[in-house]
Every structure is written in structure tokens, then in C-alpha cells.
Amino acid sequence: MPIFADFRFSLVQAAAVDLNDPSSIAQSKAGFVLKVATTKDNEIRFEAAAVDVLHALLVEVKALMAIAKNKGYLAGGPTHEWRRFYERMMLEASAATDRGRINSAASNPFINFDSGVSSNTLKMIKDAWAAKELRARELQFSDFSKIKLFVGTWNVKGNPVSESLTPWLSTSKEDEPDMYIIGFQEVDLRTEAYIIGNTAKEDEWCKAIETALAASQSEKYIKIAAKQLIGMLMVVYLRRPLYPFVHDVASESVGTGIFSMMGNKGAVGIRLKLFDSYLCFVNAHLAADVVMVDRRNQDYQEICRRMSFPLQSHYKDYMAYVQANAWVASSIDSASALNGFPTPGFHADTFTSAVPNKTNLSTFDADHFIWLGDLNYRVTVSDVEAKKCLSDNSIQDLLKFDQLRIEQAASRSFNGFSEGPITFPPTYKYEPGTSEYVSSEKKRAPSWCDRILWFTNPLKAEDPEWLTLTRYEAVNEMISSDHKPVRAMFVLKIRKLNNDKLSAAQDAITRELDKFENEAQPDLVPDANLIQFGDIRFMVPTTRTIEVENKGQVIAQYRFVSPLEDRICKPWCYITPSTGALMPGEKLAINITILVDRTTVTYLNAGNDSIEDILTLHTENGKDHFISISGRWLPSCFGNPIEVLCRLGRPIRSFALDELCALYTQVQRSQLRLPPTRASGAESESAGPAATSSIESPSPTPPKPFENRLSIPRELWRIIDFIYKFGMDVDNLFLSTGDPVLTEYFRECLDTGVEFDLSVLLSDPVEEAPEAESNDSLAEQQKHQQQDTPSKTPDAASPPDAGVGEGDAAGAGAEEAEAEAEQALDIDEVISNLSKTSFGMQQPETVVVPPPRPRGRVAAVHSAADTLLRFLEALPEPVVPSFMHRRCVLEGYHTFAAARQIVQAMPTEHLNSFVYITSFLREVLANYRGRGGIDEEKFARVFAPILLQTVSADDVPRGLPGAPGSVTGTAPNGGAGSAVGAPMPFASSGSQAGGGGGAAARAAMLASSPTPSSSAAGGTGGATSPPKSTSSYITNMLYNVVTWTAPGVAGVAGGGGIGAAGPAGASVGGALQGAAGSSSGLGILGASPAGTAQGVAVQQLRANPGLIGPPIPAEATSAGGIEAWNRKRWMFLMHFLERENYF
């Protein structure tokens, strides 16, 4: 499509997006349609999976648009005539459809066309170039010699041979021709000649020719071709010694007479190759009568158009012939000479447009093309005037009225043809047997009907010796016809190819073409091959820019590639833009960013990866450049397993990478990632409460090494400790986001072991005197201490957290006692040295972390909270190890006892951390519940996805979404019909029914749905609008259900509560969740008697007012499954936040 200055774009999403459906939003990424339109009916659509793919295209279009604007291109304007050329190309290219398309991707194009041009087209262009070069070098491999040619034409008026042809055909000795071309007209005027092929006339006339030649010429001649069409006959005689040098002889005829078909008028043609020149002769007999001049013109054009010779079989198509004979003028070359025919049926295009599919040769595909015959053009004066001219011997005056010359001058016929000077009298019409013009009744003016012309070779127009006419005359001695024969003698240049030299020239051209191809490669040059990134820290993006320049002549398209499948660089590296196109001379900055996030940090910390990579900048159809990138990884406490962190005796930054690496190996060896057996779980359950019951609030004690280990990661303690001391009262703790600068500061302090600069962190960002500020914050600090102290006092007396998880170890008591003493001491220390606790760490003196500008205590606390969450999130193994998640979700969420049992089976360090975190959260809740709306549920929602982080999708059981089959199965069993109006009995009976409880609860849910249609459609999960008015109430009530039925583990809680919850809750659940989610809950829990109520309740919890949206379609089962998983995850955590004393 041509680009005009005026066109429009539109970008639309291919699929509609339901904003309430997250899965649909995700899908919608995959379908953008870019429309480019100039006019309504001329629109191009591009579809792309991602918007960034369209970027390169848009850049391109913009560039074109600018050009169009500059040049003032308009749709439909004359400035776009050029595109006809391409349209023809495209037509040809599309004919080669698939093959061409396949090739275009793999081949190395001469010029980097856009992908719309097939490689077939490119090959055409290259071949055409090679042919042009070959033609230009013709003299290098061609030798020329001259031959003498005799051309004669005679209309014999149907007469048999009655006189010798010697006067016509004989020449002087020195003029003796190498070749005779003799054309006759009206050799056979009998009617049956139209039907019966008959060579008698040919034989008769050839015999006469041979007799004449034998009699008059010293040379021996041999007939090499003859062609007859009724009255028209043409024969070619060649001097015997030349016979071996004639090839590819072909003859054809075209009838233009009656019905424009019959052979009473028309032409015969002979084409042959002499040495390496193609010669073509046409003997024509055009329409008669003085007034038929247009018809004659038309006959001429018809003959030009229809006279064609078959292509020799070793040429696959016409273009192959043209290129193999580049030095021979082709009809393409001649097309320009033929331009200007006024007749619509015959235009230069008739030749050229047919070219690509042509399988034959025209008369114009020749080095020499001579046209002879009775062309029947007359003079446009009366016979009296004509005869007067002739008697005055002023032939030139009469020639002014010659129709052929008039038509030629007007470009109506025989364009590009030349004729010798006419010095002979008109050749028609004579009284047969005499040399007198007829003075008959018809009053015909004597005319030059019989003519010999040649087509000026457009390639040799500059060569005066290419064709020279030596004689052009009529032979008046011949009297048997009413026409006089005409003869012309030519000296022609004939080519002989030197095959060795030709081959050398072809090789040279191939080399040149190769060189061009190589030079025409896009040449994209980056300004650097090595990029140093310096220090790389966790979550701190570092960007370097390289500039690439297109130093080549063509558009350079680039992309980054890699020997690794599916990715172009290491996962911590980002390249933008990673693909693109540059115009010649254009420069582009490519940003390379290194960002180590939680997905990549562990590999770097463990020494499995380093900040080293080699990027490969690949230019399409060009060279590749390697760009090495390197940086120094500064290890971070983020993204290390808890086990490793617990073994770090000093800040992680102070470790050399190989030390860390060794530590990782050690931890990995000692740690068996196997879930504890049930037996051990039970043990710990029984032993657990006794040993750990006193853990109820976070200890402000710095963790101590325990057998070279810390009980919890020091960093976890530090950050929680900060919040504990300075920010438990902050509104919306853990619900607001932190300040990125502060977060980074906290992270850096944790990594380096540098103390948090409290004077900065707790200062308000006001521009007042810093003293006042620090006073304020000090006062605040003290206030905190005072607040905190009472709640901590009991802690001091209680066993230390170091004992958590070791409770089942026999004889731990003594150690505990020791630890207790230590801890008591520590607390005092901490309180007295709030701002400069050293934790006994070896701290490199040189490490300095520049503190950020003060942003106030609240921001600092939120940032610390954020840092804590990110820290936990980055753990490669979440606090609750992933192998336990299934159990937590499937069993642990519904009763506290079950949840506790699971928790106690956690590995020591994990258990300690879990207890520490939950204790701290409980502490916050105990004191500040409701501050900005913090409560158990909110905390659980924030922390559950982090503490029980889903590391891989495999951890989410596929069974959870529930098979639709079970849904449809339970609904009829539950008896939807009978349940209507009787939800309560059903719910209670369901709980009694044990295993069948799931079905019953489900039935209750369906039955109590406020919309009748829902009960009918319930089986397939049909859902209607939720009862919004009651939802809030329901949620609250369900909370009660959950919280107070849960402890009643073994069905003690009974039907009352469940039943009460049933009707109200079920309506919400039924309406909202539909079939899928409910069946999953029920299916899993069906075995437990309490499961019924829980199953329902779980459903209903989704009815949280904030979550009410449009009904979720039944198809979204998998999304529902994940939601159920998430829900149960935080419900699990809730157990530990709600209880004052959970151990």
C-alpha cells in the first residue's frame, strides 16, 4: 500500500475485555489490531500479540509519512504512478505464493527489501542486473562479422512461374549474398487453397529460384526455411558453407484476412539464429484498396501481436531467454520504440505486461528484423496526378502522398521501422506482360505497394554498421505480374560469441554481484562491545546505554539472539528495545538494564550465576555483534534460604562469594527437603504445647547463635524489631506501601550490617531546625519504650524463642534456662542502647550506607514494613515450606488444632520465624487493632500469600477447582426440588449424614438461593445476582460461624450453628460462586462431619462486600480454584492471629 500524507491509524483490542475478570484481562494482551487506512476501501490490518511488536512498524510508517508529507503525496494523485511497477511485481510475487514466501525468510536479499517482496522477485531483480551487465560487456566476448543479405518481395498475382527470376535475383559477383530471403504474395489464389494444404506452389517457385540462382550465381545455396500461408510464401536460402551455423529455425504465420483470421491476408514469419545472432523476417500481405489504410495499420498491429515463435525448451520462461541472450534486443527493449500506437488494442504494454508469463518469442526478439511484402499502402492522389508526377520524373513529389510514410510519420504504423530511399517508380499496378501502368476503369493511382523495411535495433542504434542498405530497387524487367518485384540488399553485422570469454565475463559479474550483495548488507555498528555495570545490588536497577548506528546503505533490522532457547539474555538482564529497525545513518540508543529481583537473586547469592553475559546483536541478513556485559554482584540477605541466613555470623556483604557458596552447599547437604512423617508431626504436637506455650509476643532479643546457628535470621529480627519499637501504632501498618528510597536504605543496612540511622529515619521531613526534630523523635522513641515495656515484661520471664521448635528435644531445659538468663540481659542492653546496638557482629569499618533525607517516622515504619514483606517474599523457600502448603490448605485451615499440628512439623528455623512473625502480628493486633482498619483478616490477607508463598504452580493441586462432573452429580442427589423451602433441615441433616454432607450442604445452598431459577440451574452452576443488601451481615455472621464452629472439631458444634448459617450464607455462596468452587470445597471436606458447615462457610466468605462483583461464569472454574486456595491459605494463618494463646 502506498503511504500518503493523509491516512489514519486505529489500534484496537481484538477481544473484548471484561474488567471484572482477571483471566480475561490476561488474555486480552494477546490481540491488538492495528489498522492503517487511506480510504475506506483501502485498509490494512496488522495483528499482533503485543503492543511492543507494533512499535517498529509504527516507526517505519512515521518515517514514510514524513516523506509523503514533504513530497505532497496524495491518495489517487499522479505522484504514485511508480507504484504500478511494484503492483506488477507483487502480482508476480503472489503468483509464486508459498514458495516465494518461504524463500524470502531464508535467503540473503540483494537489498533489504521489506518482507513483502518475495525472494523470487529479488532473484528477478538480480538476474536482470546481471543481464544488464552482460549486455554492457558484449564487446568483451563477442566477435562480429558481416554478411550480405538479399531480400526480395513480389506479388505474382496467382500466376504460375512464367519467366526467369534471374533479373530479380542475380547480383554482381562482389555483391553475391550470403543469404536470400524471398517473399511472394498471391502465389495461390484458388479457393481450395484455403482448405487444402498444398506445397506444389512452394516447390514450383523454389525450383524457379534455384534455377535462377544456379544460373546466375557462382555460389551454391541451400534452402533452410520456407513458410507458406495460402498466397504468402517466404523462403530462405543460405550459402552452403554457412549451413552449419544456422540454428533454431522457426516459422509461423498469422492470418488477418476474412474474419481477421483467414490467410488471404496476413503474414508468414521466419526466425533463425545465424552464428549467435537472431534474425527475423516477416513477409506480409496487408489489406488492399486505397481507403483501407486503417485496416492495413490494424493488420500490421495484429501481425506484430500475434506472430510468435516457440521458446526453445531449455529456457524455462521468456525472462530466462532474455537473460541468457542479454545482448539480443528483446521485445522489452523494443517496447519503447513501439510506443505511441493510437489503437487501444495495441500498446507497448501488450508486450511488457505479458512478459513474465510469456512462453514465446515475438518478432521483435531479434538482432535484425526485416519486414517485406505487399503492404498495399497507396498514394493519396488521383491516378492522373500520380501519372503526371511520374512523367515529370518527380518521384519524390509523389512520395509525399505515400500512405505508409504518412502513417509512419503519424506513428500509426510501422513505428521504429526504417526504409531506404525510394528511387524507383511505383510497383503497382502494371498491365501484366508490360511495364506500363494500367489505365483501367478503376483509375488506380500507381503506388508503392511492395516494400522492404527494417526495424531499427534499439540496442544498436548507435552502430552505423549494424545494418547497412546497399540497394533498394524495383525490377522492371519482370512483367508477368501486375506488381514489379522489389529487392533490397543489406550488409548485416553478425555476432559470434567467444564462449571462454563469455564465461569469464559471467564469472566477473557474479563476483561483482556477490560483492554488491555483501556491501548491501545492513551494517549496524554498536559503539561498545564491553559494558561494565559496576556494583549490582538487589532490586536496584542499573542501566547502561549503547548506541548502535546503521552505517550501511539499507534499512537494518536487528534483534538480540542467543544460543539459549527462548531467551536472549540472562533473566536479570533487560534490553529495550530488543528488536528494531534503523534507517541508513540512523542511530539508536539501546538500554541494557540489570535488575536482580527475587526470581534471580538466589542463584547469584548461591554462586550459581554471576553478572556476566554476552549479548548477541543480530542484524537480519547481516553480521552479529557480541556485547559482553559484566558487573559485580553484591550479595544480599534477600533471596537466601532461612537456613543460610541463620548461619551467617556477620553481615552477608562481608562474605566472599565463595564463602557463601560453600555455606549454601553445607546447608543443602544438611537439609533434607522431605515432609516430616505423620508420626513425627504427632509427636511434636503432643510435645509442642508444653515447650512453646509461653511464646506469645515477639522477643526484642537479638537472636543468638545456637550451635553456630541463629534461631531466626538476624535481618528478620532487625526489621521487625524496628517496627516493634517505633511503629506498631502506625495506622494501616502493612497495608500501605513504603517509600522506595527508604526501602532501599533498609535493605542496604540489612545487607551491610550497618545500623539504621534512627536520627534520620525518625525525623520529620520539615525544614525546621534539625535539633527540634530530633528532640521530637527522641520523645517519640521514649514514648514507645514506655508503651512497649509493660507488654514485654512478662516476656522477659518466659523461655526464650531460641527454644522454639527444640521443645521436643530431650534435656533442653538447661539450655533454655541459660538462654533465659542471656535474654534478660539482652533486653536491658537493648533498652539502654537503643540506637547503637552492635549485635556482636563484626562490622567492616569501611562500610557506610548514606542515609536518605528524613521522611518522617510514619514513612520509615511503612518502609520497614514493606522491607519485611519483600524480605519474606524473596525467600526461596517460604516461611511455611512449600511442601506443607497442600496440607495447610486442605486440612490446616478449618481447625486451629489441625493448623497448629502442621506448624509444629515445620523445620526449626522456619518454625522459629513463623512463630516470631505471628507473635509480632498478634502483638500489634492486641494493642492497635483498628488503627486504620488493621485487623486479623487484613493481616492474614497480607501475610498468607507471603508466608505460604506458592513457589511453583505445581503446588496448587489440580483437583481443587473441582470437576464439573461432581457438581452436576451432587445437585440431583441433594434433591434440589425437595430442598426448596426447607433449607434448615437439610443443612442439619447434612451434617448428620457424614459422608453425604457435601451433597446436602450443596443442596441447601441451591435451595436457599433467592432466585428460583437458580435452584433449577444450580446443577450447572447457574448463578444470579448476589443479594447485596444482606452480604455485609452475612459476612459478619459467617465470621462467627467460622470462628466459633472451628474449635468444635469433632462435630460437637453440631447442627445449630451450621443450620443457622445455612440459609443466609448459602444464598450468597450459591449466587456468587456457582457450582465450581463449592464442589471443590465440598468434595475435599466431605469426609469430615464438620466439613459441611465449613464447606459452606468457605464459600460464603467470598461474599465479603469488597469482593462482590458480577457473577463468575461457570467456565472460570480454574480461577475459582485458585481463589479457593488463596482463601484457605489466609484462613490457615488466621488461626495464629486470632488467639491470644495458641500454644
Binding site: 531464508a106 540473503n108 494444404g197 533454431d248 556477490d514 560483492k515 539472539v561 544460543p563
Partner: protein, 244 residues
């Protein structure tokens, strides 16, 4: 309808030898070149790029800067009545780029492993490349061991012809000593390779599938490539369509 006949005694002669020559000339102009992907490997500074430059442009540059990346050049070569189009990947020799080499020798039908005949260590590196190619490249790859800098042979030769030849023989490699500087025997490297490559198999495979081999390094799109030489016995049709 035509009452004429073509009396052309010479027409019968048009299948004579002269006509055959014309046909051959025509064929050359229209012959589809057989594409051969060739990769150059070898230690840094042995003259890989110079060999290519000599072969392709018949030029020589003193003190060429090292290749950081992989240059791509094409050159057609005539062998008997066939045209071979070499698609040459000239790779970086520096050791740190070693890991990227498979991107270039994968799918290659030919490899030139170059060493510097004044530096015995470079032959050892060449041997390592040969081993890697024999282990990981296309099993039918034609490997030519080339000792470059023949112009220095008389003054600074460090590897004897016999030693290299013996190694080449035992490993089944083509072997030549050449000089990119003088151009001596450079063309021979490529014509020898062309002779040894099973061109008919390549051409036939291409005709069957309508595919061309090679293309850019484009490692990322390797799935779209078809390795014509991987299993010459098998039909290539299975992964017929190039999706690049």
C-alpha cells in the same frame, strides 16, 4: 489451414554441440545456486577474517581489528555445471566467545578450521575445534584444516606441513596451507570443500522441500530452521515449513 511446411534441414541440427553450449550458457544464468553454510573457526588472530576477505573480495588488510561477533558474507563459486553459494559465518576467535560458536556451526555443511602455521599452539586450538565439531556439529560436516600465513613459512614456520597433514589424515579433514596475504591457495580451500560436499543431496533435498538452507545465525529462531544435512537419508519433508 496452413498450407506451408517448414523446410529446415538446419533445424534438425539444433541439438548439435553448439546448441548444447548455448543451453549451458542459458542454464548458468538461470541455475539456482546451491547454498552451503560454512563456518570459520580457529584461535584469535590466525587470520580467519583475512581468509574470507581474500576469498570474497580478493583483498587483504594489514592489522585487521579482531572480530567481535560474527561476520556474514556470501560468495558464489562455480563447480562444473553447478553454482555453489557459500554463506560464510566468520566467527570471533577469542576464547570468551567460545560458548556462542554452536549458534554458528549448527546446521553448517562446511567448516574451515584455521590455525597460524607460525604458532604451534594455534594448531592445538584447531584440534579442539575439530573435536567439538565432530562431536556436536552436523555429522556430515565437511571440515577443512587450513594453516594460514604460508607467506611466513620460510622465516617463521612453527608447524610442519607433515605434522598437520598427518593429523588431518587421521581425523578425515581436508588440509591446505594458504596465505590470505598473498592469496596463495585461498580459492583452493573453497573449491576443495565444494568438491567434497554432497551437492546433489543438498540440491535434491532442497527441491523436495522447496527450502533453502542457512540464513542468519538467528539462534533464537533455530526451531524454524531445517538442517538439510542432518539426516540426508531421511525425507526432509517432516519439518517442511520454515517458520522464520
Amino acid at each position: 489451414m496452413s498450407a506451408a511446411r517448414s523446410a529446415s534441414p538446419a533445424g534438425a541440427a539444433s541439438s548439435s554441440s553448439a546448441a548444447a553450449a548455448a543451453a549451458a550458457a542459458a542454464a548458468q544464468a538461470n541455475l539456482k545456486p546451491i547454498q552451503v553454510k560454512l563456518v570459520l573457526l580457529g584461535e584469535a588472530a590466525v587470520g580467519k577474517s583475512s581468509l574470507v576477505l581474500r576469498f570474497v573480495n580478493n583483498e587483504f588488510q594489514e592489522n585487521k581489528e579482531p572480530t567481535i561477533g560474527a561476520a556474514f558474507l556470501t560468495q558464489k563459486c562455480k563447480l562444473d555445471d553447478k553454482i555453489i553459494k557459500f554463506e560464510i559465518w566468520d566467527t570471533a576467535g577469542q576464547e570468551r566467545f567460545h560458548s556462542l560458536a554452536p549458534m554458528y556451526y549448527r546446521n553448517a555443511q562446511a567448516a574451515v578450521v584455521a590455525y597460524d602455521l607460525t604458532k604451534p599452539a594455534s594448531l592445538e586450538k584447531a584440534k579442539a575445534w575439530v573435536k567439538e565439531l565432530q562431536r556436536q556439529a552436523n555429522p556430515n560436516i565437511v571440515i577443512a584444516l587450513v594453516g594460514n600465513k604460508l607467506d611466513l613459512a620460510s622465516t617463521a614456520r612453527g608447524v610442519s606441513t607433515e605434522e598437520a597433514q598427518a593429523y588431518a589424515n587421521e581425523s578425515g579433514l581436508l588440509f591446505l596451507e594458504a596465505s590470505a596475504k598473498t592469496g596463495e591457495f585461498v580459492m583452493d580451500i573453497f573449491t576443495e570443500i565444494a568438491k567434497k560436499i554432497p551437492l546433489d543431496t543438498l540440491a535434491a533435498a532442497r527441491q523436495r522441500t522447496g527450502l533453502t538452507s542457512g540464513g542468519g545465525a538467528g539462534g533464537a529462531s533455530s526451531s524454524g530452521r531445517v538442517d538439510l544435512n542432518q539426516n540426508p537419508a531421511n525425507s526432509q519433508g517432516a519439518d517442511g515449513n520454515c517458520a522464520c
